[in-house]
Structures are given as C-alpha cells and as structure tokens.
Amino acid sequence: MYHTNMYEGMLAETITMRGAKGDVINAYYARPLGPGPFPGMVAIHHAPGWDEWYREATRKFAHHGYAAISPNLYFRDGHGTPEDVGAKVRAAGGVPDDQAVGDVEGAMRYLRSLPYVNGKVGVFGTCSGGRHAFLVACRVKGFDAAVDCWGGRVVMSKEELTAKQPVAPIDYTKDLPCPLLGLFGAEDKSPSPEQVAQHEQELKKHGKTYEFHMYSQAGHGFFYYDRPAYRQEQAVDGWKKVFAFLEKHLRTSAK
C-alpha cells in the first residue's frame, strides 16, 4: 500500500515486441522504477481499440507495482486514431483468436525475459480483452493468474463460430492452469448472467480455482469512466478485487 513518504517513479513508453508468428508489433509498457522484483501483467485492450483507457490501465498496474504491457492487437490493421483502427477491425469481425493468443503470449514472454520480473505473470482484459484473457490463459502455458472483466462470447453458439473464432473459449476451460477472477454486470447482455453461470458451472465441473463477482446495477464496461456505463461504486470495488487477487497470486516470487 502506498504511503505518502514513499518514493515512487515510473517508466512508461511505447515499445516493440514479437507477437504471433514472430511478427513485430508495438505495445505500451509501464513499470515502476527500481530494481524490483516486480510481478508482470499483460493488459489486453478491449474491442474499441488500443486506446487511452488502456494506456491508463497499464500505468495503473505499474503504479501498483507491476511491470505491465499492453500489446496492440490491431497493429496489423494499419495506423490511425484508435477509433478509426478499431472501427476497421470491428468491420472485419475482430482479430483471429490464434493471432490474439500469439500476441499475448509474446507479451508474456517479453515480461519473462526482464531481469526484474519476479517470475510470475498475470493477464487482464475487458470486453473482448476479457475473452482473450481467459482464452490465452487456457491455451498458453506461462500465466499465473487471469482476470476476465465482462468478456463477451466466452460462451458461443455454433452459429456464432467463425473462421477467426472457431472454438468457444468455454470449451478450453478444462485446460485452465491458473486462478481466474471474473467481474461481471448483472445488466450485461454479452455476457449475460446466464452465460456467466454456464461458464461458472464449467469451472466447477473441472475443479478450477476461480472467483466470480456479479455486480447488480451494472452492465457492460462499468470501469469505463468515459462512458455512461460507468458505475462508480462497482468500479471501485472491482479494482480492489483485481488487486487483491493479483497480490495473492503474483506477489510471491516463483521458485
């Protein structure tokens, strides 16, 4: 916990890293100054794009003592304002799951290569990023904690499957190797409370370690202070739960 007599400093900048298939993509990276050791966090941006909120979230993780990286999953779709690039990806039906998984794995490997990271890395995402966080935690070895904030389409009908998203993430639940935190809004339509319950049932069935919190009077994206979906009380509590979960699972050095 921060005290007013403590030194605090941070480095935050755009970097490049290797993502899926070894492609070079850019990423936003923030870390506390000092020798560490720091746990690592990958922050997966939401469907609207690699935007200012995600830069802020990345710095928030650094402020709380994490070496944090947010890869630009839309790097291959050209450059412009985050909205224009996000709209282009929206029109294309999103990015392929395999590509997103590869990019997030690359971000995890980048963190693990750093001398001041304590050997533990978590993953956080909201909206489509929440879905990606769960998906990558199931499919890639190397994550020690995962946070899925209102990730829609974890549960998918056969009709919703596409070439880019060929498997519903819920079908990978049995492979989840790390604890999962899920934050959801009871008024959300994607994921609906019924879909969240279905996912929870699957986690129970496979004996996974998880915490799910369903917030009343909140819908999709209740952390986003720049959107009408923002819910102050639920957002404050949600961030507390995120950091309590990460402290518990990432703060101890890996053996």
């Binding site: 609207p48 029109a91 999103g94 829609g152 919703e160 979906a229």
Partner: protein, 91 residues
C-alpha cells in the same frame, strides 16, 4: 466487438471526413458497441475507403429507432425520385 454483428457492402460515392472529401468505396454496418453515442450497442455505419487507410472514414452511430427511420427515409426519397422519373439511367 462483443456482438460481432457486422456486414459490408461495396458502394460508390463521396464522404466528407476530417481531411475533407474523399471517395467512399464501402459501407460497414454493425450492431455493436459505439464510440460516442451513449448506448451499450448502436447501429453503426462507417463509410470508408480502405485503400486510403483507417482514417478515411465517415462514421454515424444511431439508436435502433433512428436507424429504422433512416432506412424508411431513404426508401421514401428513392421512391419519390423513381416516381418522378429521375432514376432512369441512374447507376
């Protein structure tokens, strides 16, 4: 986006974006998260020219009711133009 409900169509026309007029080649119509209108989901229409990059975009985000009004209005105007004989030979 979270619904992934989207459809594209090729079109011919011009749109006025932040850098002025440009040729639009495609419309991307989605029912998904908007960027600006204060709704969880909206009917989003992007008039774009992908050859000119992501910034060649004219965007509108509409409520469902507004989107239906837009469709009805376009149909009504085209019907009047057709009735008046203005569409003969039009592309």
């Amino acid at each position: 986006m979270c619904t992934m409900i989207v459809q594209q169509a090729a079109i011919d026309g011009s749109g006025k974006g932040t850098q002025g007029w440009f040729t639009v080649r495609q419309i991307n119509v989605s029912y998904d998260h908007p960027y600006h209108v204060p709704l969880e989901h909206a009917l989003n229409i992007d008039f774009v020219n992908e050859a000119e990059g992501p910034g060649a975009r004219v965007a509108v985000e509409l409520s469902v009711q507004s989107a239906r009004h837009l469709v009805q209005t376009i149909r009504a105007v085209l019907a009047r133009a057709e009735a008046g004989g203005y569409l003969e030979g039009a592309r």
